[in-house]
């Protein structure tokens, strides 16, 4: 695993315009960064990332299978009681999932360590499935990258194929896509998924989360007053559970992407639960609930994470009674978990995080994020990679 500087393509901003990639620069800072790339060996990809990604996904499914049936665990995971039966039903009827992203700390030598599972609303999808793919093709075509270069990235192909499966499993329904207003990054991600679904022959419509309506019978409706029967929402389940229309969810004759049971593994309580079910697994970090703090060795540094949190918000790192780093954020009312601190590897003064994608249960590619800060957040830069 190497970080190799390279000249950016001269016309990449024009290309971004052509392809509608609008959020490459956010709040005046670069988000897409092609001034360097990461190079992996095929062994590193297959043994250290691809295989553990699929294995951890299976372990997560075992967690779901225990938690959805057990009041004790549902409470530990902060799932409101009104949704317990509905989540159990979604699990038992095998509601299909679309995608997830596991975040790893990986340095190219030691086993990748799982930071968290973005199983409900993962983003940076377009950059991964398409934009870094195009960067590789251009680099090879222009002779700037070896002709033998490959990339761990079958994401777009797998998404389209998965949508074909979903179309077969969910016939005769229009798929509504939803995200919040004023979030160009989320709108971009959703547009990309709409394109993949259309390519799979699915009829799609878009509605903003804030514009979703209800009728007298409690059915959800779109801007044209059409009843919604199948929906992809780039909006966290735990938010929806607390909101006004949340109480309507269990009575809908609807299919959801991600399905309701994904609320169990997009939850940080997953981490201590995984550790208790698979202790000392090489790809897991020790993790504990607040009720198990006696297990926290004072010699080690610990990361305190809210049970519900996104994009590295409200994280606190401390060791030997001292705070080492922290991030602000709006989360944490629901409680916290503790995970052993495992420093991100540094490449040329950057902290590097590897996101490993799953489409259903198949590993589908990686994305690299870099940050000068030790806690990577939503503005961490995105860098492409190759396999050589």
């Amino acid at each position: 695993m190497l970080r190799i500087p390279i000249d950016p393509r001269e016309n990449w901003r024009d290309l971004a315009d052509d392809y509608g990639f609008e959020f490459h620069t956010m709040h005046g800072e670069a988000y897409w960064d092609e001034s360097a790339y990461y190079q992996f060996s095929l062994d590193q990809i297959e043994k250290d990332l691809e295989q553990p990604t699929e294995e951890i996904h299976q372990m997560c499914l075992e967690v779901v299978d225990q938690v959805v049936r057990d009041e004790y665990w549902l409470k530990k995971f902060c799932i409101p009681q009104a949704y317990w039966q509905w989540i159990l039903d979604s699990w038992q009827s095998g509601d299909p999932s679309l995608y997830s992203r596991l975040d790893f700390s990986y340095d190219g030598k030691s086993p990748a360590k799982l930071y968290e599972n973005n199983a409900d609303t993962p983003t940076s999808l377009y950059e991964t499935g398409f934009w870094q793919w195009l960067w590789l093709i251009d680099g090879v075509d222009q002779g700037r990258l070896s002709r033998r270069s490959d990339q761990f990235n079958s994401l777009q192909e797998k998404l389209v194929n998965r949508f074909k499966d979903l179309a077969f499993l969910t016939p005769n329904r229009v798929l509504h896509f939803a995200c919040c207003k004023d979030t160009p990054e989320d709108r971009g991600t959703v547009t990309y998924l709409e394109d993949c679904a259309k390519e799979a022959g699915i009829e799609v419509k878009f509605v903003f989360v804030e514009d979703i309506g209800r009728d007298a019978a409690g059915r959800l409706s779109d801007d044209d007053n059409h009843v919604i029967s199948w929906m992809f929402k780039l909006y966290p389940w735990e938010f929806m559970f607390e909101e006004q229309f949340g109480e309507l969810l269990p009575q809908q004759n609807m299919r959801w992407l991600e399905p309701p049971w994904k609320s169990i593994i997009s939850n940080k309580a997953l981490l201590p639960k995984l550790w208790s079910m698979f202790p000392n697994h090489p790809n897991l970090l020790p993790a504990f609930f607040e009720s198990e703090l006696k297990h926290l060795s004072s010699d080690l540094a610990w990361v305190k994470k809210p049970i519900f949190s996104r994009e590295g918000a409200n994280i606190q790192i401390s060791g030997q009674g001292q705070e080492l780093a922290s991030s602000d954020g709006p989360y944490g009312e629901e409680g916290f978990i503790y995970q052993a601190f495992h420093r991100l590897p540094k490449f040329a003064n950057n902290h590097t995080l590897v996101g490993s994608w799953l489409v259903d249960d198949k590993a589908a590619g990686i994305s690299i994020r870099e940050d000068t800060n030790i806690i990577t957040q939503d503005m961490s830069r995105y860098l492409p990679h190759i396999i050589l």
């Binding site: 989360v209 209800r214 007298a216």
Partner: protein
Amino acid sequence: MKRSQNIDLGRMRKPSKAKFILRPAVLAVSAVMLAACSEPEDDAIVIYSVDDCSKQTSLDQQECETVYQNAQAEAERTGPKYNSQADCEAEFGPAQCRSNSSGMFSPLMAGFLMGRMMDIGRPSAVYQYNNPSSRYHNQIMTADGRNLGAAGQRSYKVPQSTYKAKPTVTKTVSRGGFGSSASAKSSWGSSKSSKSSGWGG
């Protein structure tokens, strides 16, 4: 190879509107419109009753009953809807409309289409304008509002899209029941940090 083999770059392009207007594409655009007009058509007959179905098709009595019931369920779900009985009857004739569960009025189904390309599980209902004062008097229309022509013809040319799954139309009583957590959390974002991108992760 560990990457997608082929991505259709043409499909991935999203030309901005400004560029599209500047492009001299008049000929190309009209070609697209012509293509849209020559959508594949099906020759369909209108079935008015279960008996009519068993006489005119190869389906037996029981199959015809099932198809007829499916058509009525589709009609209930997808048919044209009016806010008042008077508005509905103005088009479809006296006593030709009834109210549905959401308090709106729909015309009674006149029959359903039967064609080679249709899905028997989802027959398309048709309606007949029966009010002599309606300018469409005696015409046959589909649930999505397409006028097929005068009633009583042997067969009708039906664009294939008529058979597509149709949305259930309802009356929305309120909106805004989702999204409040996002606005609460993003107001946090704007006050304490310059970062306020999406709600993904």
